[in-house]
Subunit: 178 residues, 2 copies
């Protein structure tokens, strides 16, 4: 998969439709990956993303510790791996090894990017003030890469209990909005 | 469209996949409707939803004033109305009249629900502490209604500039997760 840099001003187009994402985190000795659907765009440029992680997750601890993560966006072919990441804990298991996902170095942050995902958004934690009350992290995307060969990525959108909606057709309407 | 009450514990299944929604707001004299994609689930029960609204929007003022709104979820057939709501301001125009959307009374909140949407989530503002910095409202869903006749609602997911992804096929995987 040949990825190229995506302008930060276009990041919202990837997350606004609401795909499940794989978030990678790391400290100096361990890396982890979790499935996440509870995210929203908060600003276009610099792209800010809010996400809620359960405090029980190992990824929560790693994110608090390193203040960095990568948001990796999978497509339909990775659905099995997404569910596997959601059902195991990185405390007890190397989820890269068990899922077959391939870590590759990120450009600006320590956590690895996932090779098999068509987009990788490298993030730094910008604000933890809502973590105590809501487990809500505010992230800033500092670098984005995308596989442009994929004209219509079949992202998957979680509907609960292992049911996913697969991205369908596109429709285009005239709009003055971003 | 015959709607029935949806258990609050199932609300996340509607929003987690990331559809564009129509948010209705009102004060004693005016009602308004806006299109919104910047939302996330924050808690299962009681269902808490975070959403970011531009402070320039009339809906922002109405939401600050009344502390109530309804999140209405449209399907593909309403795409034209969604874009129309996104491109006009309720300060100058009655968007219910101009869009052809039909307001109907909500059960617990003052803003109307939209008849043509397959789901209506009545919300109260639970926390405005992140509004000043991020325009982020924390809402609590207090009542939810859904049209159960629609087995697979073709929700629409905004990808920027009037392009929408229409919800496609469903896939089911065994999962221990909600």
């Amino acid at each position: 998969m040949a990825k190229t840099t995506l302008a930060l001003g276009r990041v919202y187009r990837l997350l606004e439709p609401g795909p499940v994402v794989l978030v990678t985190t790391a400290n100096r000795t361990r890396a982890n990956v979790m499935a996440l659907s509870w995210h929203l765009m908060m600003e276009f440029v610099p792209p800010r993303v809010g996400c809620v992680l359960s405090a029980r997750n190992y990824s929560f601890s790693l994110l608090m510790e390193s203040r960095e993560c990568v948001i990796n966006i999978p497509t339909r072919g990775l659905a099995r791996q997404v569910v596997a990441c959601g059902n195991a804990s990185g405390r007890r298991r190397d989820k890269f090894a068990s899922s077959g996902l391939t870590p590759e170095p990120s450009k600006y942050v320590m956590p690895p990017s996932i090779r098999e995902c068509f987009a990788n958004l490298e993030c730094r934690v910008a604000d933890t003030r809502m973590v105590g009350r809501y487990n809500l992290f505010v992230l800033e995307v500092v670098h984005a890469r995308i596989d442009r060969a994929l004209a219509r990525p079949r992202t998957i959108h979680h509907m609960g209990s292992g049911t996913f909606m697969v991205a369908g057709d596109l429709i285009h309407l005239r709009s003055r909005k971003k």
